[in-house]
């Protein structure tokens, strides 16, 4: 049952691809639930662009931030609450890489 309202911001090529840069989404408070809810609006491709089904987590090569904090830096169970802002950047922005993975 949807119970949380979240603002989702899209950046860079995601904006052009999905024709949107800001959405208000109702979801169940989980990250996967949010991505599913966004996919219901933008299409299944969004789910594949953002979620790594095999690993059961957000794709490793993009920036997915809740209230400005990258989820890779958040500890414990990561949930969403009413009024949270989620920013999603496609894997286009990067840094120096002394030991390329």
């Amino acid at each position: 049952m949807p119970n949380v309202s979240v603002k989702v911001l899209l950046f860079a090529t995601f904006r052009k691809k999905y024709g949107s840069k800001e959405l208000i989404i109702e979801c169940d408070g989980t990250i996967k639930g949010l991505i599913n809810s966004v996919s219901n609006v933008l299409g299944r491709e969004f789910y594949d662009d953002v979620y790594d089904e095999k690993r059961g987590m957000v794709r490793d090569d993009l920036i997915f931030a809740i209230n400005g904090r990258n989820i890779k830096d958040l500890k414990g169970n990561i949930g969403l609450k009413d009024g949270d802002v989620v920013a999603i950047f496609p894997p286009l922005a990067g840094g120096l890489s002394p030991h390329t993975l």
Binding site: L9, A12, A93, G94, G95, L96
Partner: protein
């Protein structure tokens, strides 16, 4: 002579007009590569010679004939297939902006064309009485009168000299009015829109009455093992093509894709660093630039990325047709830091920076500091002579740029840089600079490692000396929490050492979004014929960083100068994801010095011996 080198250094004494050629020394090149590394080695020898003559290094006048200016390429520069090898490095014994070492880097075509003209490096000492330019065409160097060029802007100077010299592969590096007027943040511009931007090296050229250096030629850069190089090159270029950053992100959006990324993390300094959240960031972002004023892109010589932006503002008060930029740092400094949210005004202000030859980071930050001084009532209105320097005033921003270049009215104060400006008005804490160099667009309260990096960077507040943002925000090659000081020291050191390798190769730091140390070891081994391991590559970088540190120690800088503005150490971030955070600098610095083998910011004798640095 190993591959990758033309084998020649041009020595120019502007006081006597004497020109002489000397060889690149293989034993020096093996230890310091070229570019920044070789230049640091030469500068250290000048310093030692001055000390033997009884001249104390802190007495060296950055704008006097005793300052030394070096233009340097490296073994990778100008080799087709060597990733992003269209750059050169410029160094000076002292920066007129900071008093520390002068250091800057530029792309375009000038670096490769210097090598095609037959030289790896140019070392300039003394000062001319009359304006001159240096011409190097296929190995023939001459000093010629620049009397007719003095006073001309960058675009005119580049075009006139290109036509005058003619020939194949001709490129001009020059100063504009800002350099002639000894504006402390004046830069050296080549190919009209590419700049060795930081630390005021354009003013050093101006003080020497050297208007321009034009290079031209068609010599080829030798490669020691062509078959091996072809293989490594193919591998590296393929890696860069497939990499989402170098293959798609930078070509599509340029560096300004970072505006929204860094603002989201709460680290995009706004209104002279009073906060790290800019409510108007999206209006000045790479995404908005792409939708509005972007008309094309321009790559440097030999570059497969092409991050350069070609733009036009078709109408309105800030109309400008056919310019280049702005990139991330210029948008932030001229826009975010000044609170200006009109992208057309930022494009125009950036255009003027190129036209007059000024570093937009230092200039924008100095204007932002003036805005804060004015809004707090520290600058009397009458001093501004009609310039309404309130945050967010687009018209005042554009006006301030040319007033600075010509030192008109309040521009004479802006021309001194933020540190001097804030000292004059009695509030040095408002200058957001380190060692006198204005910091770039990342607030370290939201990413602690870059604070350590700014504090310990030899040239002053600089991000490209060691880009820890990569691990803290972008997650490359691994993701670490930006808000903790833990573990940042090793990354700062590693990035600083590796950046020395890149700037001594000399190619573009952006290649390292995709390529690692092993790729560099393989590329340089194939080009030079030396067998370089990854460890050896990083050791060369560490050697260069330490010798550069020895120079700034002699100039009077030590641990007390490895610090940050008080705002970052004491004023908690007021909002955003980093709300409540300051920079725990001392804790990170202690670990950093231990890893470096330094005491109070000074390399120990043991460390220098370990790195085979002979003083």
């Amino acid at each position: 002579m190993p591959g990758g080198y033309m084998g020649k250094i041009l020595r120019v004494d502007l006081s006597t007009g004497a020109l002489r050629t000397e060889p690149i020394l293989e034993e020096v090149a093996r230890k310091y590569l070229g570019g920044k590394g070789y230049a640091v080695y030469i500068l250290y020898n000048y310093l030692r010679e001055y000390e033997f003559k009884g001249i104390s290094p802190p007495d060296i006048n950055p704008l006097g004939p005793e300052n030394v200016l070096i233009f340097a390429t490296g073994p990778g520069t100008g080799i087709p297939g060597f990733p992003c090898s269209g750059r050169y490095h410029v160094m000076a014994l002292r920066s007129p902006l900071t008093g520390s070492i002068g250091s800057a880097n530029s792309g375009g075509e000038w670096g490769p064309f210097l090598k095609f003209s037959g030289y790896d490096m140019i070392v300039i000492e003394g000062a001319s009485e009359e304006p001159v330019y240096l011409s190097i065409v296929n190995g023939v160097a001459e000093l010629r009168s620049a009397g007719d060029l003095w006073g001309k802007n960058v675009f005119d100077t580049c075009r006139i000299l290109s036509r005058r010299v003619g020939g194949k592969n001709t490129s001009v590096a020059c100063i504009g009015p800002a350099g002639e007027n000894l504006v402390r943040m004046a830069c050296i511009v080549n190919d009209e829109h590419r700049a060795a931007g930081r630390t005021g090296l354009g003013a050093v050229m101006g003080s020497k009455k050297l208007k321009a250096i034009v290079v031209s030629g068609d010599e080829k850069v030798p490669v020691a093992n062509p078959d091996e190089f072809r293989e490594v090159s193919r591998r590296c270029l393929e890696t860069m093509r497939k990499n989402r950053v170098t293959g798609e992100g930078l070509p599509t959006y340029g560096t300004s894709i970072l505006i929204n990324v860094i603002n989201t993390a709460g680290g995009l300094p706004y209104k002279n660093w009073q906060t790290g959240v800019n409510p108007y960031a999206d209006k000045i972002s790479g995404e908005t630039l792409a939708e509005t004023y972007l008309t094309g892109r321009r790559a440097c010589w030999g570059c497969t990325i092409g991050c350069g932006r070609v733009t036009s503002v078709p109408s309105g008060p800030f109309q400008i047709i056919g310019t280049e930029g702005p990139e991330y740092e210029s948008i932030w400094a001229l826009g975010g830091s000044t609170g200006v949210k009109d992208l057309d005004a930022i494009v125009k202000a950036n255009h003027y920076c190129d036209e007059f030859g000024m570093d937009p980071i230092s200039l924008g930050s100095t204007i932002a500091a003036a805005m804060e001084l004015y809004e707090r009532g520290y600058i009397p209105k009458e001093d501004l002579q009609g310039l309404d320097l309130r945050f967010g005033n687009s018209t005042a921003l554009v006006e301030a740029v040319w007033r600075t270049a010509y030192r008109v009215g309040f521009g004479k104060y802006l021309a001194l840089g933020s540190k001097k400006l804030c000292e004059i008005y009695g509030h040095p804490e408002i200058s957001m600079s380190v060692k006198g160099l204005e910091m770039p667009a990342y607030d370290p309260r939201a990413m602690k490692g870059i604070g350590l990096e700014y504090a310990t960077a030899n040239r002053g507040g600089c991000h490209v000396t060691g880009y820890t943002v990569s691990v803290e925000i972008l997650g490359i090659p691994e993701k670490i929490d930006p808000l903790t000081p833990e573990g940042k020291a090793k990354w700062a050191k590693l990035f600083q050492d590796f950046a020395c390798v890149v700037n001594s190769t000399v190619n573009c730091l952006f290649s390292t979004f995709a390529l690692g140390v092993k790729d560099y070891a393989d590329l340089l081994s194939a080009v030079t014929g030396w067998s370089l391991s990854e460890d050896e590559i990083l050791r060369i970088g560490e050697r260069i960083y330490n010798l550069e540190r020895v120079i700034i120690n002699r100039l009077g800088f030590d641990g007390k100068d490895d610090t940050l503005p008080r705002r970052l150490l004491e004023e908690p971030m007021p909002e955003g994801p980093a709300k409540g955070h300051i920079v725990e600098l001392e804790r990170m610095k202690e670990e950093y010095y231990r890893l470096r083998g330094w005491v109070n910011g000074i390399p120990t004798a043991e460390k220098l011996k370990e790195l085979e640095i002979e003083l």
